[in-house]
Structures are given as C-alpha cells and as structure tokens.
Symmetry: none
Subunit: 135 residues, 4 copies
C-alpha cells in the first residue's frame, strides 16, 4: 500500500504551512513505501545542504520503518547500531524523518524535513504526517 501523489502533496502543503508558522525555510521530501521519491518541495532560500538531508531522512525513515530520531539514539557510539549511517548509500539519523501512516495504521510512505534546527525539523515533519485523510 502506497501513498498517492495527491496525499503526498497534501503532506507537503501541511508541512509548508507549519514551516511558515515557525518562520523557517524547509526542504520537504515524501517517499513511498518502497523508498522511492513521490514529491519534493524546497522553500525559497532554504539552505542547499539540506536538500540531500531531507531526501535521506525520508529514505531512512521508510527503510527502517522508524522515526529517524529513534535510529539516532541506537547509532550513538557504544550503541547497537553504531555507524549504521554507512549503509544504503548514506542515512541521516537525527530527527525530522518519520513514517507516514494511513488511517488504518498501515505505513504508506515517509516524510523527511531539513532546513532549520532539529527541533523545528521534527515539528514540521510531525505536522506533515497529520495531513493524511484516506484509510
């Protein structure tokens, strides 16, 4: 079960509105359940280095079906998944990547947000995934 383009664009719109409310400039990625790109938007003046981080956060979240923040805790020195970031062509494991669920609770894709503080990235990702209306 995969997120549709319509749903992905709704997620991007909701994330963008939250980003504006926080006075930030974000890169917003949505991937499907196969980790393939569905939709992307870079807000004007968002820093260039955050494009790839946004893409990698979304990819990371769907590849492991986890918030990137959770993986980040598990990949600290001495922890179970230390340096897992070297796999899959590069992962990003700080907050801002989250699986997207439909109303039945199935994972249908993931969002990746980058462009501001990690706390803001997380808040914007959290706002984005609430935009899903279909079961």
């Amino acid at each position: 079960m995969n997120i549709t383009l319509k749903q992905a664009q709704d997620v991007i719109l909701a994330a963008k509105e939250k980003a504006i409310a926080l006075n930030t400039k974000m890169n917003i990625t949505v991937v499907d359940s196969g980790a393939n790109l569905v939709a992307f938007a870079r807000m004007d003046e968002a820093v260039l280095g955050a494009i790839d981080i946004s893409l990698k956060k979304a990819k990371t979240a769907i590849l492991f079906k986890k918030d990137t923040e959770v993986l980040g805790q598990l990949s600290q020195p001495g922890s179970a998944l230390f340096n897992i970031e070297h796999s899959n062509g590069g992962l990003i494991t700080f907050a801002g990547g989250m699986p997207i669920h439909n109303l039945k609770g199935n994972i249908i894709g993931a969002i990746g947000i980058s462009g501001s503080s990690v706390a803001n990235d997380k808040a914007v990702a959290g706002a984005g995934i609430l935009a899903i209306k279909a079961p």
Copy 2:
C-alpha cells in the same frame, strides 16, 4: 536568477495536465539555475526507473543550458560529444529535459520529464515550461 517554488509548482501542474491529456504517467522534476532540486512529483503508477531519468534530464538541461535532445544529437558515436553522459555523475541526453526561461528570456531553471515515450516526454516538458508567468 532562480525559479521560485511557486513557479516550479506551476510548471509541475501544467506538465501534469499535459501528461493526463496524453494518458501518460510521468515523473516531473524542476531544478534551479544551480542544478539544485526545487520540486518533484511522480504521478501514480509511473514507472520507478523513470524517477532518476527525470532528475538527470533536468540536471543535464541546466548544466549545459540546452535541451537534452540537442546534447543527444551531439553525443552520438562519431559526434563531437560522444559519451559526455559519463560526466557530472551521469547525464541523460534524450528528449525531455529543457531549460526554463522567465519572461525576460533569462534561464531560471530546468524541467526533466520521464515516464512515457520520448516524444511524449518532450511534449510534456514543453507544456510545463510555458507555465512561467513572472518576468
């Protein structure tokens, strides 16, 4: 001078409408004048292999400020730019990538379309770049 997100989303919308008119499923990429991703949309059921082709067509068109189709003619065996595709992390040099101009004629970005026949890809790209309204 760079395309804005609003302009890029207008380009994607126009391209998508043309794709629907042609009964095709397209991947649509818009990059800015620095070859950085601004917006992307994959229509439902578009083939996965065309995501990267769409990205690379847009990148190719802006990196050389040319329609990808023109580069494709120049890169045939025996021609001046044979195998230029090995540069810049991989280029795509068949039709479907085009620079985007503003109303003053300045290049502000590029579009890359992939998902159907090359003729359809080209038609959809051509429809997309007409969506720019601002000078």
Copy 3:
C-alpha cells in the same frame, strides 16, 4: 551573488601567503554560492589526502552557510547533527572551511583549507577570506 574568478584567485593568493608564513603546504579550494568549484591550488608537497578534504570543507561551508568548525561541534556523538557528514556526498566538519562574504556582508562563496594541523588550516582559511575587496 557569486564570487568572481578574480576574487577567488585573490583569496587563494592571500591563503598561500599565510600558509608560507606558517611554514605549511596547503590545498586551497574556493567554491561559489552554489557550491560549484571556482578555483583551486595545491602547494608543492602538500599531502595528497588533503585535496579532497579541502574540496569538501569548502563545499560544506557553503552548503550550510557556516564555518565547518561550527558544524563539527553540532555533529559530535550525542549532539543534534551527529553523523550529518554522510549527506551531500560526504562532508568534512572540522575547522578550515568558511563562508566568504563580500563587503556588503552577502555570502558569495566559501574557502576550504587542508594540509596541516586543524589550527593552521583555520588560520589560513581566515587569512584567505580577508582578501575580498569588492562590495
């Protein structure tokens, strides 16, 4: 707004003079505001492994509009951006990469220095960015 080749060569000359004053052999990279290479110089006998570090420091500084040293503090284990270095094809986040401003305060590019101790790399980068004379 982008650094010119003339400005980039002035930056390289100033950095090289500082490197000589410190009795070091440096690799010196200047990129523009889009993270594209503008000018590079490797001083005779500089270690080969520092070529890529110099390139990546300049790229890192412009992609995030920050001194690489600042990113290095934020990417320590347990910190907000731990392992950000896996993005953008590889970042370098210790000192020696700095944005370059024009006299109006706009970021027009970045410098990356590598070849000696990190303290020396930083000192040479700092000398380089002072060479900008134009607004």
Copy 4:
C-alpha cells in the same frame, strides 16, 4: 617528475588568455603525473556542466598518457576501447585533454579544458601546455 604549482598556474594563465582571444568561457584543470589536482580555474559565466568535464579530461589524459581525442577515436563503437569511459570513475574522451611535457619531453601532468566547442577546447588546451618553461 611532477608539475609544480607555479608551472600549473602559468599553464592556466596561458589557457585563459587563449580562451579570451577566442571569446569563450572555459574551465581549466591541471593535474600532476599522479592524476591529482594541482590547480583549477573557472572563468566567470562558464557553464556549470563543464567543470566536471574539464576535471575528467585532465584525468583521462594523464591516466593514459594520451590526448583525450586519441582515446575518443579508439573508443567508438566497434573500436578496440569501446566504452572505456566506464572505468576510473568516468572518463571523457573527446578533445580538450592533453598531457603536459617539460622541456626534456617528460610527462609532468595534464590539462583539461571544457566550456565551448570541442575545437575551441582543443585550441585552448594546446595553448596552455606551451606555457611550460622549465626542463
């Protein structure tokens, strides 16, 4: 035996003067005999896609101790080295890359030029390698 930075900068200066005489905007790369970057300059307004082509032409010329144009003839369909461009992280095999000899005839590095027609690229590379004065 390796080209020095001073020699490489002389090569770049001579190439740049030729490029100006031809009314072109070039990317100019000089590598040493180990295929490592020594110096680079991008003239203002040179197309971005030609940066990497310039780098790869210089690399290709030194890796095989041949003009890139010669390799291009050998790598056509049906010829001995067809698709050699897939090696070494990507080669460019049309004209514009040339070994640099010292006055004794030893190869000390290579130049790579990209940014205009292949004929102009070749003319500028040829002008650059004449700048070597030392034995």
